[in-house]
C-alpha cells in the first residue's frame, strides 16, 4: 500500500500541474474544451489525493510498521478511534491531509459552478490548482508519508518493520483532538477558494458585485470551521493541558486566530460593497490577507520556527513555505495593482455616524488586532534576527493590547447595527441607544454593588449587557413591526423576520454568541486556585469547598498505567460529589499526562488535577482551580456556530438574484439555440 499511496501522490501532483496550466490556458483562450479538461483534472486531483489518504489510513489501521510514518506515530495498542488522527499527527501526514482537503474544496467549487460563473472558473481552477501543486510537491518531495524503513547491511538493503510503533502523543489521545485539527485545517484550506475567486475576478476584470456575492459563502464556511477549530482547541487545552485555561496566546493558537480575525473583517466589509459599492480594493486586500495568514498559520504550525506547546514539527519545509508566501504576496498584489482602475468606489462615505463608518471602524480595529497578534507572535523571530536574542512576548503583552481592542470591538458589535446606512441623526441615535444604555447601566450598577470593581471586567460585563440589550431590541422591534403589518403572532413574526434576512439576523445571533464568550472571558478575573499534598484522609480547602482524599488506586489499561485519586467534596458542609483526577503513564510513548476531574455548572467549574506523586512524602500533588463562567465560552461558541449556519441559509434577496441568474442563463441558452 506504500507504493499505491506514492502513486496517488505523484499522480495528484501531475493532475494539479495539468489543471493549473490547462485552467490558465482555458481562461486566456476562453476555450470551453480546455475548461472541461481542467475541471476533470480537478476531479482527478481529488481522486488521487483520496487514494493517497486511504492508503495511509489503511497502513495505520493494519499496523504496517514497515511504513516509516506508521512506525513513528502509531502503535498496536492505540485504540481505533485514535488511529484516525494519526493521519494528521505528523508533518508528512498533515501536509497530505491539507492537500486532500484542498482537493475536496476545489472539486466542490467545480461541481457547484458547472453551469455558473463560467468565465471565472478557468482562473479559479488555475489558482487553486497552483496551491494544490505547491502542497503536493512539498508532500511528495520533503514530507513524503510513504517512505519505508529499510536496514542497510553488507549484503544490501533489506526491508525492516519494527515489532511496534512509537505511538501517538498522549496529549493528542483526547476526543476533541480528533475533531480539532480537521476543523482548523478545513478553515485554513478553505480560504484558498475565496482567494482564487478574487484573483480570477481581477484577472478577468469581472469586478462587479457578482464575485463578491459568490465569495461570501466561500469565506463563511471556512470561517465557521476555523471558529469551531479554535473553540475545540480551547476545549482540548482546558481538558488536557491541566493548567485550567483555554487560551494562552501560544504562537500556534495565534496562527489560527489571525485568519479568523481577517475573515471576520471581510465578512463585515463585504456588506458595504454589496450595499453601497464601496471599499472594493479593501475587500480584495482582506481576501488576500486572509489567505496569506492561513498559509502563514499552516507554516507556523508545521515549520517549528517558533517554539510552542504545539511543538509537533521541526523540519525543513520552512524555506518552501517562505518562497510560497512570497509568491502569493507578489502575485496577488501585482494583479491587484494592475486592476486598480476597475475597482473605483461607486459611492462616498456620507457621514461619520452611519452603518458604513461603523463597519469601517470595526475593520480598522480588527486589523489592529491582526497586527498586534502578528507582532507578538513573530517577535521572537524578529528579535533573533535583529539582536540575535530570542525574546518571547507572553500573555501579559497580548492581554495588555488585546483586552482594550476586544472591548472596543464588543462595543461596536452593539452600536454598529443600531446605526442606519448613509447617515444617522442624533435623534435616531438617541432613539436606538437609550434602552440598551439604560439596561447596561442597571446591570453595571448591580455588578459593581456585587463586588466587580476591576475596570476591564466591569466594562466587559457592562458592554455585554449593552450589546445583548441592543440585539434583543432589534429582534423585538422587528417582530412587533411585522405583527402590525402582517397580522402574525409574535413567534411567527420572529421566525419570518429572521428567515427574510437570514444574514442580518444570523449575524445578530453570532453577535450574541460573542457576548456569551466575553461573559466567559470576564469570569477569568475571579479565578481561584490552591494546591496541596494529599494522602488518604488528608483535607484541602478551596474557598467554600472542602476536599477529602478517600484513597489512591493504581492499575493498567491497554496502552497506559494510571493512578487515580478519589476525592470526596463538600460545599458549605454539605456532601456534593466525588471526583477522580487521574495521572496516566502511556507506555508506548513513555510519557505521563494528567487526566483532570471536572464538575461544571453555568456559574463555575471545579477543576481538579493530580500532578503525580511527591517523591518526598509519597502523597499526590493536588491542584484545585475554581473557574467561574467557563461554560459560557463553550455555549458562546455553539451560539456562534448556530448563527453562522442561519446566515448561510439563502435569504429572500439571494433567492431573487438566483432566479434572475436562471432567467439570464435560459435567455443565453435560447439565444444560442436560436
Amino acid at each position: 500500500m506504500n507504493q499505491v499511496g506514492a502513486v496517488g501522490l505523484i499522480a495528484a501532483l501531475v493532475f494539479a500541474v495539468y489543471g493549473m496550466i490547462t485552467g490558465a490556458a482555458a481562461g486566456k483562450l476562453r476555450s470551453p474544451r480546455m475548461l472541461k479538461s481542467a475541471q476533470r483534472a480537478v476531479l482527478g486531483f481529488f481522486a488521487m489525493t483520496t487514494l493517497a489518504v486511504v492508503s495511509l489510513e489503511y497502513l495505520v489501521l493494519t499496523n504496517n510498521f514497515h511504513s516509516a510514518y506508521v512506525a513513528e506515530y502509531s502503535s498496536r495498542a492505540l485504540p481505533v478511534l485514535y488511529k484516525i488522527p494519526v493521519l494528521w499527527a505528523g508533518q508528512q501526514g498533515s501536509l497530505l491531509f491539507w492537500t486532500w482537503l484542498l482537493s475536496i474544496y476545489v472539486a466542490a467549487a467545480v461541481l457547484l459552478n458547472r453551469k455558473k460563473n463560467r468565465q471565472l472558473m478557468p482562473y479559479i481552477i488555475a489558482i487553486s490548482m497552483g496551491v494544490g501543486t505547491f502542497f503536493s510537491m512539498v508532500t511528495f518531495s520533503v514530507a513524503n508519508p510513504f517512505n519505508e524503513l529499510n536496514l542497510a547491511s553488507a549484503s544490501g538493503v533489506t526491508p525492516y518493520a519494527p515489532p511496534d510503533g512509537n505511538g501517538l502523543n498522549p496529549a493528542l489521545q483526547f476526543h476533541s483532538m480528533v475533531a480539532h485539527p480537521p476543523m482548523l485545517y478545513l478553515g485554513y484550506v478553505g480560504m484558498a477558494i475565496p482567494f482564487a475567486f478574487a484573483m480570477s475576478a481581477l484577472m478577468t476584470r469581472q469586478l462587479g458585485d457578482n464575485w463578491i456575492r459568490v465569495t461570501r459563502r466561500w469565506v463563511m464556511v471556512p470561517w465557521m470551521f476555523l471558529g469551531i477549530g479554535i473553540v475545540l482547541g480551547g476545549q482540548w487545552a482546558y481538558h488536557v493541558l491541566g493548567w485550567g485555561g483555554y487560551w494562552a496566546w501560544d504562537p500556534v493558537e495565534n496562527a489560527s486566530l489571525l485568519p479568523w480575525l481577517a475573515g471576520t473583517a471581510f465578512l463585515h466589509s463585504v456588506m458595504i460593497q454589496e450595499k453601497r459599492g464601496m471599499l472594493k480594493v479593501w475587500n480584495m486586500v482582506l481576501v488576500i490577507l486572509t489567505f496569506f495568514l492561513s498559509i502563514f498559520g499552516t507554516f507556523l504550525t508545521r515549520s517549528g520556527i517558533i517554539s510552542s506547546v504545539h511543538a509537533f514539527a521541526k523540519s525543513d519545509i520552512g524555506p518552501w513555505f517562505s518562497v510560497f508566501l512570497a509568491i502569493i504576496a507578489a502575485f496577488s498584489l501585482t494583479v491587484l495593482f494592475l486592476r486598480l482602475d476597475f475597482l473605483k468606489s461607486e459611492n462616498r462615505l456620507d457621514s461619520i455616524a452611519s452603518r458604513e463608518s461603523g463597519f469601517l471602524f470595526n475593520n480598522w480595529i480588527l486589523l489592529a488586532a491582526v497586527l498586534a497578534v502578528l507582532w507578538g507572535t513573530i517577535f521572537p523571530v524578529i528579535s533573533k534576527a535583529i539582536e540575535n536574542v530570542t525574546v518571547t512576548v507572553g500573555p501579559p503583552f497580548f492581554n495588555k493590547v488585546m483586552i482594550p481592542i476586544g472591548l472596543l470591538l464588543l462595543f461596536l458589535t452593539g452600536a454598529g447595527p443600531m446605526l442606519a446606512w448613509r447617515k444617522t441623526s442624533f435623534q435616531s441615535i438617541k432613539r436606538n441607544f437609550t434602552f440598551p444604555l439604560i439596561f447596561a447601566a442597571v446591570v453595571g450598577g448591580v455588578i459593581f454593588y456585587a463586588g466587580v470593581h476591576r475596570l476591564y471586567t466591569w466594562m466587559s460585563l457592562f458592554l455585554c449587557a449593552f450589546v445583548a440589550a441592543s440585539i434583543v431590541a432589534e429582534f423585538y422591534k422587528g417582530a412587533r413591526t411585522r405583527m402590525k403589518s402582517s397580522k402574525e403572532n409574535f413567534f411567527a413574526a420572529l421566525y419570518n423576520l429572521t428567515m427574510r434576512n437570514t444574514r442580518r439576523y444570523g449575524g445578530y445571533v453570532v453577535h450574541f454568541g460573542i457576548v456569551l464568550l466575553f461573559v466567559g472571558f470576564a469570569g477569568q478575573a475571579f479565578r481561584y486556585e490552591t494546591q496541596g499534598l494529599m494522602g488518604p484522609g488528608d483535607l484541602l480547602r478551596a474557598k467554600n469547598y472542602l476536599f477529602r482524599c478517600e484513597g489512591i488506586s493504581t492499575g493498567q489499561k491497554a496502552n497506559y498505567q494510571y493512578e487515580t485519586v478519589d476525592l470526596s467534596v463538600t460545599k458549605d458542609g454539605h456532601a456534593l460529589t466525588v471526583m477522580h483526577p487521574e495521572r496516566r503513564f502511556y507506555m508506548a510513548e513513555q510519557q505521563p499526562i494528567s487526566h483532570i476531574a471536572l464538575r461544571s455548572n453555568l456559574a463555575q467549574d471545579l477543576y481538579v488535577v493530580t500532578e503525580g506523586t511527591d517523591p518526598n512524602s509519597g502523597k499526590a500533588i493536588i491542584h484545585v482551580i475554581i473557574n467561574p463562567l467557563v461554560q459560557w465560552v463553550w455555549i458562546g461558541g455553539m451560539v456562534i456556530l448556530l448563527g453562522t449556519i442561519l446566515a448561510l441559509i439563502p435569504s429572500s434577496i439571494e433567492r431573487q438574484m438566483g432566479k434572475l441568474h436562471k432567467d439570464q442563463e435560459e435567455a443565453v441558452a435560447a439565444h444560442h439555440v436560436g
Binding site: 500500500m1 507504493q3 499505491v4 502513486v7 499522480a11 493532475f15 482555458a26 476562453r30 476555450s31 470551453p32 474544451r33 480546455m34 475548461l35 472541461k36 479538461s37 476533470r40 476531479l43 482527478g44 481522486a47 488521487m48 487514494l51 455558473k116 460563473n117 463560467r118 468565465q119 471565472l120 478557468p122 469581472q206 462587479g208 458585485d209 457578482n210 454589496e274 450595499k275 443600531m418 442606519a420 446606512w421 448613509r422 447617515k423 444617522t424 441623526s425 435623534q427 435616531s428 432613539r431 436606538n432 422591534k477 422587528g478 412587533r480 413591526t481 402590525k484 403589518s485 434576512n501 434577496i653 431573487q656 438574484m657 434572475l660 441568474h661 439570464q664 442563463e665 439565444h671 444560442h672
Partner: protein, 150 residues
C-alpha cells in the same frame, strides 16, 4: 495487485481528463458564456436598491430611524433606483437592437446563400451563373458535372 489497479485508475483518469481536448472544434459552444450580462448586472443593482429601500421602510416603521433621516434617505434611494432603471432601459434597447441587428445579418446571410447556390458558381472565377449551364458565362471554362446539376 493493488498497485496494478492504482495504475489502471490513474490511466483511466488521465484519459478522462484529456478526452475533452480531443473533441473536434465547434463541438461545444465556441466561447465561454458570459457570467453576468450588463443588463442582469443593472437589474441586480436595482434589486439591491429596492432591498435597501424596503429595509429603510421597515426600520422606520420599527422606530429605528427618525422621520427626517427616513425622508432624505428614501429620496436618495429612489433617485438611485431611477438612475439604474434608466440605465437598464437603455441597456435593454441596446440588447434589443443587438438582437435585431444579429437577426438581420443572419437573414441576409441566408438570403445570399439561397441566391447563390453552389451549383451555379464557377470554381475557376467564382462567377455566379444565373442558370445551370455547361460553360461559365464569365470565363468560358467548362463547369464540372456536379455543378451543373439541379
Amino acid at each position: 495487485m493493488e498497485l496494478g489497479i492504482a495504475i489502471l485508475l490513474v490511466i483511466g483518469l488521465a484519459v478522462f481528463t484529456i478526452t475533452p481536448l480531443l473533441a473536434p472544434e465547434g463541438s461545444a459552444e465556441d466561447a465561454l458564456p458570459i457570467d453576468v450580462t450588463p443588463l442582469t448586472d443593472l437589474k441586480r443593482r436595482r434589486m439591491v436598491v429596492y432591498e435597501n429601500l424596503k429595509d429603510l421602510e421597515f426600520e422606520y416603521e420599527a422606530g429605528k430611524v427618525a422621520k427626517d433621516d427616513y425622508q432624505s434617505l428614501r429620496e436618495n434611494h429612489l433617485a438611485e433606483a431611477a438612475q439604474l432603471m434608466l440605465a437598464s432601459q437603455e441597456q435593454e434597447e441596446i440588447t434589443e437592437n443587438d438582437l435585431l441587428i444579429e437577426k438581420q445579418v443572419a437573414e441576409r446571410r441566408a438570403q445570399r446563400k439561397s441566391k447563390r447556390p453552389d451549383p451555379f458558381v464557377c470554381p475557376e472565377c467564382e462567377f455566379e451563373n444565373p442558370l445551370s449551364v455547361k460553360y461559365c458565362g464569365n470565363c468560358g471554362k467548362e463547369l464540372p458535372q456536379r455543378s451543373r446539376k439541379k
